[in-house]
Symmetry: C2
Subunit: 224 residues, 2 copies
DNA sequence: ATCCTGCTTCCTGTATACAAGAACCTTGAC
DNA sequence: GTCAAGGTTCTTGTATACAGGAAGCAGGAT
């Protein structure tokens, strides 16, 4: 309850940016936000610093805070790094995973399967997220886990688009099964390779993503 | 000249922490620093936020800012990630590097060789740094380049210790030659593998690093 | 003697005040 | 009518004021 105001604001603003309440390019007005949250500008500014650190806003000196609009190529670059980190997590996890973590991973996989068979896209989305976070934390490298988790969060809004692609969920699920198989049977190279391509969404999947992004961008432009 | 005070403070404090002026575990007193820099607490606190974001200080609520003392296992974890990122940079660079970047890399390699043959450790250190930064920027992925550069900077104080190990410079140089060879002759897998192990300093080199860290830690304790 | 408790003091977190720079509007000139 | 220059207003960056929690110390109880 004694949580700092600035921390609460950071979480709230992050949420608002990721969900699109504030669109890319928008300027975040300190005074307006201070009024809206009924606090002074000080914690608002502090929250801005955090958001800038995680790359969500651009802090232009004497100009203010602007919601960042990563270019498509930037997003692709981030996915490329995400693929490498995920692959690394999988490789390490297949060597270092504990018994209880294996059980959790299987549980998460089953949750994915259940959501898929029921056709519940949102449920699948969260089960999928849990699955990946489990792989991160199973890698046995706290720093890597933190980095992977942060980047995953950063890519959240774009990752969502992937699932809208026809047949993506079913293919994603099949890959999850292969990943678990490789990890629990200690085939690190294979776990790494599958996770990498799982993220990279090569071929047509990738183009679908780009197309989705363009559509999203236009949508933003209309509302903005 | 119209640089923000907070930015200047951040750079200064970062310098002071990395060079050991403030030792790990030290508490950074807002009021003292404000007096020392002849500014108010506001920009000091802003600088703290930045330092916390880059992992240099720990911001404990209602307690203050403390210089982080990464545990040895944390440092090892960071090196493990660094190795992966460097390997990725090399792999991508071997496919994407431009002609002018190749020339620059060869130049940097020659600078390393010159420094090594003259036995100038400090010169080698900087030539080595330039070499690695060139690989990062040659990877063609701006996000990756930024992440690798940031982590490299973060590991700077520990990386320095590696070079003190007997014979490390000569071996490092040989690896550099092999890296350039693999990159310019477009053997991405090889470039990745060599760079990875180049960072990981396997075997005895690794133990030497840990020993050096322990010595450094004790040194800090004595001065503090 | 040691530990607990309450007080005091100090420091952080937040609010507010102030100064300087940027944007915008108006007005005048071409 | 358009463009530029100057001033006005608004916003950010920094300083200061204030409030609440944390650490340290003293005094009493066991």
């Amino acid at each position: 309850m004694s949580e700092r105001i600035a921390d609460r604001l950071r979480d709230q603003l992050e949420q608002d940016i990721l969900t699109g309440t504030y669109a890319p390019g928008d300027r975040l007005d300190e005074v307006n936000l201070a009024r809206r949250f009924e606090v002074s500008r000080t914690p608002i500014r502090e929250a801005f610093q955090h958001l800038a650190a995680s790359g969500l806003v651009d802090l232009k000196p004497r100009r203010g805070a602007f919601v960042r609009r990563p270019s498509i190529s930037e997003i692709i670059e981030m996915f490329e790094v995400m693929a490498e980190l995920e692959g690394m997590c999988g490789r390490l996890a297949s060597r270092r995973m504990t018994v209880s973590q294996t059980a959790e991973l299987n549980e998460a996989l089953e949750a994915c399967e259940a959501a898929c068979s029921r056709g519940e896209l949102d449920t699948y989305y969260y089960a999928n997220e849990r699955f990946h976070f489990l792989v991160y934390s199973a890698c046995g490298n706290g720093y890597l886990c933190a980095q992977a988790t942060a980047l995953h969060r950063r890519l959240k809004p774009y990752r969502r688009l992937q699932l809208r692609v026809r047949g993506r969920v079913r293919r994603s699920l099949a890959e999850h099964r292969a990943i678990v198989d490789a990890i629990v049977n200690e085939r690190p190279q294979e776990a790494e390779a599958i996770l990498k391509s799982h993220i990279l969404i090569q071929g047509e999947g990738f183009n679908d993503l780009v197309a989705g992004l363009e559509r999203e961008k236009n949508g933003f432009a209309e509302t903005g």
